[in-house]
């Protein structure tokens, strides 16, 4: 077998069969969420659903530059992205699909690294891969690789992002802006050496602890558009005001430094291992403690409250004591990072 993806790898014949058996399936062991799973290579998979609760389904496509970045790669990003969308719906992830679109000439060892990383990330959240698909596109028709994943999770009652009200507290589960800034630093054109790494991780195990406490009114993962976009979406859907305090937002020193250097706000870049929780105020401390009891949530903090001063808007109280609106970012300042 050659060491690069060729057109025949996507043609459905022997070459594709060999690629599947020898390079892809080897990375996935337990592949069942029901009677029929990935191992059977059937036309579909089955998923066992419990009698009570709600099934939650979500889908996401991932492209990223560079494909391997400090702290992760597109495989971990694709898995965590879908797992985390389920987690912030309050759903325990159970099964994922994996659709690979690969450019002709893509190195097979890179593909295997990506799949191993995808598989490891699924295991961290206790979910399994149940079916998949592979397509090959011609050289120059795609930049390396694109991955689509769909995920199914189970929630006793799914948490929406549209039912917050004045008085609620706002929690973030850790430092903000790490993924976006790490990727910016890793881009060749900036030629920067930075100790930053992406926060990409599946957050379900941490979120599960918070859900046990109860009192969670809304959740969202601040990916594209960062904290600013996620908060604006929540404020706007509930016609509420979210007021946060700049001085309470957990930020790494390296993120702040890079943000000053590049003129890009850490509040507007992606996070891939964080969540925003909007919770009943009298449960806030207990929920915060539950989040902090998990290693991913060590830096969690209460950063503000919901009010009714400016419906649909986010207000930032600045560190020096000023106030300003924190609006929806115009566009992602870091294109193609998630």
């Amino acid at each position: 077998m050659t060491d690069r993806i060729g057109p025949l790898h996507g043609a459905g014949g022997e070459m594709m069969e060999k690629l599947l058996r020898e390079r892809i399936l080897v990375h996935f062991k337990d592949c069942h969420a029901g009677r029929i799973g990935l191992t059977e290579l059937d036309d579909g998979a089955t998923v066992d659903l419990p009698a009570d609760g709600e099934a939650v389904i979500t889908t996401d496509s991932h492209v990223v530059k560079p494909i391997f970045f400090p702290g992760g790669d597109i495989g971990r990003l694709a898995a965590a992205g879908t797992l985390n969308d389920l987690a912030v719906m309050g759903a325990r992830p159970i099964a994922l699909t994996l659709s690979l679109i690969i450019e002709e000439g893509f190195p097979l060892d890179s593909l295997e690294r990506i799949l191993a990383s995808f598989s490891k990330t699924l295991a961290e959240a206790g979910a399994v891969l149940v079916c998949g698909d592979t397509k090959v596109m011609g050289h120059g028709e795609l930049d390396g690789i694109a991955i689509n994943t769909t995920g199914i999770g189970i929630a006793s009652r799914a948490v929406s992002d549209a039912s917050i009200s004045p008085g609620d507290a706002v929690i973030v589960t850790g430092t903000i802006g790490d993924h976006g800034m790490a990727l910016l630093a890793a881009r060749e054109e900036f030629n920067l050496a930075s100790p930053l790494s992406s926060d990409v991780a599946p957050i379900w195990p941490m979120i599960a602890r918070a859900l046990e406490v109860g009192g969670i009114k809304g959740m969202k993962d601040p990916t594209r558009g960062g904290l600013a976009a996620a908060l604006n979406e929540m404020a706007s859907k509930s016609r509420a005001t979210i007021e946060i305090e700049e001085g309470r937002i957990p930020l790494r020193r390296e993120v702040l430094g890079l943000s000053d250097l590049l003129g890009i706000s850490p509040l507007e870049v992606a996070n891939e291992g964080k969540a925003i929780l909007i919770v009943e105020d009298d449960k806030a401390e207990e929920i915060l403690a539950a989040i902090r009891s998990h290693p991913l949530g060590e830096d969690a903090a209460i950063i503000g409250h919901v009010t009714d001063e400016y419906p649909g808007r986010v207000v930032l109280a600045t560190e020096v004591g000023g106030r300003r609106f924190l609006d929806m970012p115009l566009g992602d300042p870091v294109p193609r990072i998630c």
Binding site: E319, V320, G321, R323, R324, F325
Partner: protein, 361 residues
């Protein structure tokens, strides 16, 4: 171990805002700054909310691409249409000229290149036999870089379309407007590192107005504002340096020598303001061979025509804030800019839009 001194320290900020409140006059006072970086710092930190109601602060002509006359952009486009490569900074390429922007010219097939520094233009010229033109804009901060490439034996196919401007004469020009209402100037830290204090005295002493040079951190700005208000309270207007950790009173003599060697001072057209005496830089006659205006035979331009409905001229002269304009945030946004102040990253409208700056909260 003691905490490092932070220029965002809330306690020190509180001390300064208390001083500002004590010093603020009972009557409204309008303070004007002339630097996009100041406006970003003010909006980003919500500093307007820390000032007493009687104290307002506005950006004047502080965005270099915003004040570049449409006729210079038209000249750059005319040059590009001859087949030459035109290089300029990112924002400049998006600003509309009389009819089109350089970006639109690029979509027609002109070779327009975005560069990050003057030396990139030299690099482009070395890589080709075609004519390369550096469209040089900016205040006293960028002029020394342009001067340096002119003096450093540039490739023969490189020429410079110079549109550099000087800040202190523009500050004076605003005070000549009948309805200016300006009570004091927060002078730009970056420009001042180059020019020092003297050019402000030469341009502004006769107006008897407080001028305080300020840095760009929240405490720098609050401190400079406090000094301006103290001058007003004491009735002792003068040029004062509140940013001595970066600005020497004499400026940067090496940079000033470079500017003087390459350029002479001339009257210049400012977008939205008009012609201001002795406010621009043109290449000296001995550098005629590298002057794109001569090489491409660019005619003298007439005055700019305004953009219908756009209040950039009033914003650039600190007679309006961006949200006073009926187009602001509606027809005119950073994605669909109508006037230059919404294009330039240092333009007041662009900054107010990006930071959600309004008269409230």
């Amino acid at each position: 171990m003691t905490e490092p001194f932070r220029l965002t320290d809330p306690d020190r900020a509180k001390t300064l805002t208390e001083a500002i409140s004590l010093l603020a006059p009972a009557d409204p006072v309008k303070i004007v700054h002339v630097c996009g970086t100041h406006e970003v710092a003010i909006a980003h930190n919500g500093l307007r909310r820390l000032l007493p109601e009687t104290v307002t602060i506005l950006e004047g002509p502080g965005c270099p691409v915003c004040v570049t006359p449409a006729s210079d952009i038209d000249a750059a486009i005319a040059i590009a249409r001859t087949g030459a490569i035109v290089c300029s900074f990112g924002d400049m390429i998006r600003v509309p000229g009389g009819r089109a922007s350089l970006e639109e010219a690029r979509s027609e097939g002109c070779d327009i290149r975005t560069i990050l520094s003057a030396s990139d233009a030299v690099r482009h010229a070395k890589d080709t036999d075609r004519e390369v033109v550096f469209f040089a804009v900016g205040f006293e901060t960028t002029a020394p870089m342009t001067a340096a490439i002119v003096l450093d034996d540039p490739p023969e196919n490189l020429s410079v379309l110079a549109s550099h401007k000087l800040i202190p004469p523009a500050m004076g020009a605003l005070l000549d407007l009948p309805d200016h209402g300006i009570g004091g100037y927060l002078a730009p830290g970056h420009v001042s590192t180059i020019i020092g204090l003297k050019p402000y005295r030469e341009a502004l002493d006769r107006y008897r107005i407080p001028v305080v040079i300020g840095g760009f951190e929240p405490l720098d700005i609050l401190y400079a504002l406090a000094l301006i208000l103290r001058q007003i309270a004491d009735g002792t207007p003068k040029v004062e340096n509140a940013y001595p950790r970066a600005v020497d009173d004499g400026g940067n003599p090496a940079a000033l020598r470079l500017i003087d060697e390459v350029f002479e001072i001339t009257d210049a057209a400012w977008r939205g303001i008009g012609t201001i005496p002795s406010s621009g830089l043109v290449l000296r006659e001995r550098f005629e061979s590298i002057d794109a205006r001569k090489r491409f035979d660019i005619p003298e331009a007439g005055p700019d025509e305004g953009i219908p409905g756009c209040r950039c001229p009033e914003v650039l002269t600190a007679r309006a804030v961006p949200s006073d304009c009926p187009l602001f945030g509606r027809r005119c946004t950073p994605l669909t800019p109508v006037g230059p102040c919404m294009v330039g990253a240092e333009g007041a409208c662009s900054i107010w839009f990006r930071y959600g700056e309004r008269r409230t909260p």
